[in-house]
Subunit: 308 residues, 2 copies
């Protein structure tokens, strides 16, 4: 079996771990970072930032396994006709949950005024309890659902929203335009964890941000284009949005002159909410190779029509 | 039944709620904030900050019900011979869990460098996962245990420690001096949630802070005197402790000239980690009155020998 690891920048992270994970699964494979004969490649492990863009010569390739959760940069590649699987890495999910819960609690507890308190103000005003702070979770994929569950465990009342209707035990799930309005109208904190598709671009815009109660907090660890930047800045200036903590941006690294950097109502985190963790990711890659070899359906297969 | 509400400053919070909670429990009582005839008082609801210090005249009083979790300021009062119950308020516990988890995640994720980032530095270094960040929970009472459970739910490996040995399913529990050393030696984050007793005063001192791995984080939402302030400042200066977030102090409000205010390694929160919440606290008070009237044992009875 020949595996092409087509993500040169990430190879050092996987060089030791991936062969180990294959051996543990009883799979015998040769891994290369460049294929002399593309037609001999059985599987491609891929990052959208990689040079490989033309999948046409990989005529025997049984699957392309993305190292990224977001596949918007490859899903439209018409040369990619093989089954494509997204990365759903338990380590990535854990990291995302930690980021979402941490920043939700940060805003909930009003930490910033204690972290930066040059006047040494002692004001023992107690915040409300989390059970009094409703959260809207926009996106109910693996990441959104895990974050919603963790927030619920801390008593935050969570309303989930997805573009198409979903049913999740123990979670109020809304969908569609009317559902979005309802989810936002009751939210003190809104979290965007949707895939980037033409339908989700600018989902939070001047109109939808207006559905939120005044003074809401926004967390975006999903994708930069989910938010209309100019509309968000206007709503921050007006006080409609109290604070936005953003991990993802239309251009990354966030350009030095972008107003998000200096706006007092914005915290920038540098795309760290969910990083693929090589140890757990390698096990996911290997499990999919094992499934393909055994003729079982792949995990986390991308639906080309939906785009994720 | 006559109830003396001996916490004048808190009366406005309970004026409506407490009679409601009594009525819901089917208890008929008159509540006063001053007793013309102390011998007629059946129950005293009490805060240590209240003027009442001599309990001798309350000869018919069946129980003193504290509004505070910490009773160190009354447990040594020799005129108080009636059963004394601490407040274990589910709202207080929830608030404490939120504070502990929030600040643990804040340190874990290194949030401060994103919250205050005047140089607009984009450094996408990913923090480790919570499962790689061990926590020592010093104190396994209602609050410590609830906080430990919430941290475990987020995958933090938690080691519990208490002065006297405890067994808690699913939690490694250590005790005594050797146990303290072992718990601290493996901790990246240490949380102090012990009662204040002569035995716990200065529990964290130059010697015990030295047991921690270099660069540990300290959270103290318990009691100010658990920590030797001068030793902590020295360990912060040396880098042994990376950061301390403190909610409680030997003198409160923290005096304006105290070095904690201006030390870059200290975050001061103004005793907000756990506030008694009138709604849930009123139900706890009423449940104890119901129990006393029914001859059932009181909840959260203070052991005068242990001091809590």
């Amino acid at each position: 079996m020949l595996i092409l690891f087509a993500a040169p920048a990430l190879w050092p992270d996987y060089e030791t771990i991936l062969p180990q994970a294959l051996a543990e699964a009883g799979l015998s494979a040769r891994i290369v970072t460049e294929a002399a004969d593309p037609a001999a490649v059985d599987y491609i492990i891929y990052a959208p930032s990689a040079p490989l863009q033309d999948f046409t010569p990989y005529t025997s390739c049984k699957a392309v396994l993305s190292l990224w959760a977001g596949v918007e940069r490859i899903v439209g590649n018409t040369t990619l006709t093989q089954p494509l699987a997204r990365m759903v890495d338990p380590g990535l999910t854990e990291g995302m949950v930690e980021w979402v819960v941490g920043h939700a609690l940060r805003h909930h507890l009003g930490m910033d005024r204690h972290i930066v308190n040059p006047g040494h103000v002692w004001n023992p005003t107690c915040p409300p309890l989390a059970r009094q702070r409703p959260v809207a979770m926009l996106g109910l994929g693996a990441l959104g659902l895990a974050a919603a569950r963790a927030l619920q465990a801390l008593n935050f009342p969570v309303t989930g929203w997805s573009r198409t209707a979903k049913e999740v035990p123990g979670l109020t799930c809304l969908s569609g335009e009317a559902g979005l309005r309802e989810a936002l109208a009751r939210a003190a904190i809104v979290v965007t964890l949707l895939p980037r598709t033409p339908e989700t671009e600018n989902l939070l815009n001047a109109r939808t941000l207006g559905y939120l109660p005044r003074g809401a907090f926004l967390l975006n660890p999903g994708r930069g284009p989910l938010i209309d930047d100019a509309a968000l800045l206007a709503e921050l200036d007006s006080g409609q949005i109290a604070h936005a903590t953003l991990d993802v941006f239309r251009v990354e690294p966030l350009p030095p002159d972008h107003p998000f950097w200096s706006h007092p109502g914005v915290t920038v985190t540098p795309h760290i909410a969910a990083d693929t963790r090589p140890h757990s990711a390698a096990r996911v890659l290997v499990e999919n190779i094992r499934r393909a070899e055994a003729g079982e359906p792949l995990l986390h297969l991308v639906d080309r029509n939906r785009g994720y």
